[in-house]
């Protein structure tokens, strides 16, 4: 049933000094919307460029639509539409002319090109602006034109690099719903990269979190949440009035304790099992004045926050 359409096996990309992508394995199924999430400079774009055969991986293989992308980029580009973060249109041509150029480069005749361009322009609601020069387009309009542009070749896969960058919230919503509806109507596989979780999670079937060249986790949002949260569920933040150096020592003797850390006057205590009141009991028994005790729960947001600030681990 599920057919893999993009497959990366053990792909690495090494630039002169930095490793942009480390031994990446990724499989994307036909018809799904996959979100590649990660902070800036995580290697998302590099990964995308390798899928299109625009950059050669140092190691590993990339297959897109069953074609080896590195050696046969032209075959891949015939089937894949790529929308870069800042689409470059010829500014002195009109929107329609820009689309027609793309169509002709994909081997469509002039008549077909015109027909298809008009059809797509109305799909992305740009039919009124089609004879305006692209230089006069707003950023949101450009992005929508970009969407029409990549659909000109009737692709099987659409890859978008930061499609929501620099658009106002309303525009983002429109664009994302456009992407979603186009994907459903045309049976497209969509891969989009972003560093903005909120916008992307509403349309993605699956997401992958990509940090420093490594894919840390992937799956649908719920699965991801449980996967990422399971380690950090039993963390408690404790504030004690008369803490002394012996506290940590004594506390770590307790059976349920896994790890203790001090942070800005708080103690972060990780337990093996859920706290049943032992922590408070312990404090009382050892004559510490317990000021506050709360369970720390990481939301998905916190996790992204931590990951995206470049932290390698959540502690």
């Amino acid at each position: 049933m599920t057919e893999t359409i993009i497959e990366l096996t053990n792909v690495s990309k090494q630039y002169k000094e930095t490793t942009a992508v480390k031994q990446l394995d990724l499989a994307i199924n036909r018809g799904e919307i996959f979100g590649l999430l990660g902070p800036n400079g995580a290697g998302k774009s590099t990964t995308i460029y390798m899928m299109l055969g625009l950059t050669e991986p140092t190691k590993g293989e990339v297959h897109v639509c069953g074609v080896q992308a590195t050696n046969y980029p032209i075959e891949v580009k015939r089937k894949v539409g790529f929308l870069p973060d800042d689409v470059g249109f010829y500014e002195d041509l009109t929107g329609l002319e820009n689309l027609k150029l793309t169509a002709k480069l994909n081997g469509l005749s002039s008549v077909e090109a015109e027909e298809r361009a008009n059809e797509l322009l109305s799909q992305v609601r740009l039919e009124e602006a089609k004879d305006k020069k692209v230089g006069k387009y707003s950023r949101g309009m450009r992005q929508r034109l970009g969407l029409a542009d990549i659909l000109m070749k009737d692709p099987e896969v659409v890859i978008m690099d930061e499609p929501t960058l620099g658009i106002d919230p309303k525009g983002i919503n429109e664009l994302l719903h456009l992407i979603k509806s186009l994907s459903v109507e045309n049976g497209l596989t969509v891969l989009l990269s972003s560093h903005q979780l909120h916008q992307v999670q509403q349309i993605c079937d699956r997401v992958g979190i990509f940090v420093k060249g490594e894919l840390l986790a992937q799956g649908d949002i719920e699965k991801l949440q449980t996967e990422l949260l399971k380690d950090h569920t039993y963390v408690y933040r404790v504030k004690v009035n008369n803490a002394d150096s012996q506290l940590i020592e004594k506390l770590s003797m307790e059976a349920n304790i896994e790890q203790i850390e001090e942070e800005d006057g708080f103690y972060l205590v990780r337990l093996k099992n859920e706290d049943q009141g032992e922590l408070a009991q312990f404090m009382n028994a050892n004559q510490y004045q317990l000021l506050s005790l709360e369970r720390v729960s990481y939301g998905l947001d916190d996790i992204y926050q931590r990951y995206f600030q470049g932290g390698e681990s959540i502690e």
């Binding site: 950059t55 032209i74 580009k77 870069p84 800042d86 470059g88 480069l105 994909n106 542009d149």
Partner: protein, 332 residues
């Protein structure tokens, strides 16, 4: 059968991405202010020099002895008026031609890269080299049609004002000369496309092109003279014929590294049929020769090495461009 095959081939080419890209380049150039301004400048200067040439051509014609071939049309390209207020057509073309080549190529690739359009074109199913090939083909076809129109304009004005049609040989010589101009400008175009790939900033690449052009058209001659003068050991021996010949040979050898010089030689031989040779010759060689103009085939034989020189310089520039472009990372 054969005809059908040709028609199909032409149709295929008309639909090929290469032609689509070339077409776009041609349109861009024709619409651009830059090309139109340059075209205006060249057109004005050439018409100016043509005017002075045609106003003095009567004197030239009356000075020629009746038994010689006239080559009036070739003269139109090369002569100036007596005061020398305006340089000849040839001088203008060899001076402004490179500028035309440089200006049509210097931002070919880097401006597309900076505007991100390069990435969009490259994510279409076309081979990478089509992009620079189209850049070159587009610019050179615009230049070629411009140069040919200029040439025909000269012939046309000549016919109207002199009332004598050009002879067949003159016509062929002019056509060859025009093709040579295109080849020469093609070299500068290839060079500036190379710079546009190598340098990320359009201004840097334009400056690089212009400085090479200035170097060869002004400083190289001075530099070569300096080298030749210092390499002749003693002033005393300067008079000796062998030393003089030696230094002359060194001079031409060094000068021939400059594409400008090669083009000057081509121009001289093509447009002045009475020029029989390009290097220094000894008295023995001259003895017994009849001072008659060379035949076209003979002239071509003389300039053949020069033509190949310019052509190969252009090809080398283009090959380097290819090499850099194919292995360049798309992202900055």
């Amino acid at each position: 059968m054969n005809k059908e095959k040709w028609i199909k081939k032409i149709q295929d080419f008309a639909h090929s991405p290469l032609w689509v890209l070339t077409q776009k380049e041609i349109t861009d150039h024709i619409k651009s202010f830059r090309f139109n301004i340059l075209m205006g400048i060249i057109l004005l200067t050439c018409v100016g020099s043509l005017y002075t040439a045609l106003s003095t051509i009567r004197d030239v014609a009356s000075n020629i002895e009746s038994n010689q071939q006239l080559f009036l049309y070739l003269k139109v390209f090369t002569i100036t008026d007596e005061g020398g207020t305006l340089p000849s057509f040839v001088t203008f073309v060899s001076f402004l031609g490179p500028l035309l080549g440089i200006s049509l190529g210097f931002d070919a690739v880097n401006s597309e890269r900076n505007k991100n359009t390069l990435l969009r074109v490259m994510s279409q199913p076309i081979p990478r080299d089509y992009i620079i090939l189209a850049k070159f083909l587009g610019a050179i076809s615009v230049i070629a049609s411009f140069i040919f129109s200029l040439g025909f304009l000269v012939i046309g004005i000549g016919i109207v004002s002199m009332g004598i049609p050009p002879t067949f040989e003159e016509f062929i010589r002019i056509m060859t000369y025009l093709v040579m101009i295109i080849v020469y400008i093609g070299f500068w175009l290839a060079l500036s496309i190379l710079f546009s790939i190598r340098f990320k900033q359009a201004a840097t690449s334009a400056l690089a092109g212009i400085s090479i052009w200035l170097f060869f058209s002004i400083f190289y001659g001075i530099l070569v003279n300096l080298i030749v003068n210092t390499s002749v050991p003693d002033q005393l021996f300067q008079q000796a014929a062998s030393v003089q010949q030696q230094s002359q040979e060194l001079l031409t050898t060094l000068m021939r590294f400059s594409p400008n010089y090669l083009f000057t030689e081509i121009t001289t031989i093509l447009l002045t049929p009475s020029f029989r040779t390009l290097g220094p010759i000894s008295m023995e060689q001259v003895a017994g020769t009849i001072p008659a103009p060379l035949e076209l085939a003979q002239s071509l034989t003389i300039i053949w090495p020069q033509v190949i020189g310019i052509l190969s310089a252009a090809v080398i520039c283009f090959a380097i461009s290819y090499f850099i472009f194919l292995f360049q990372e798309i992202r900055s």
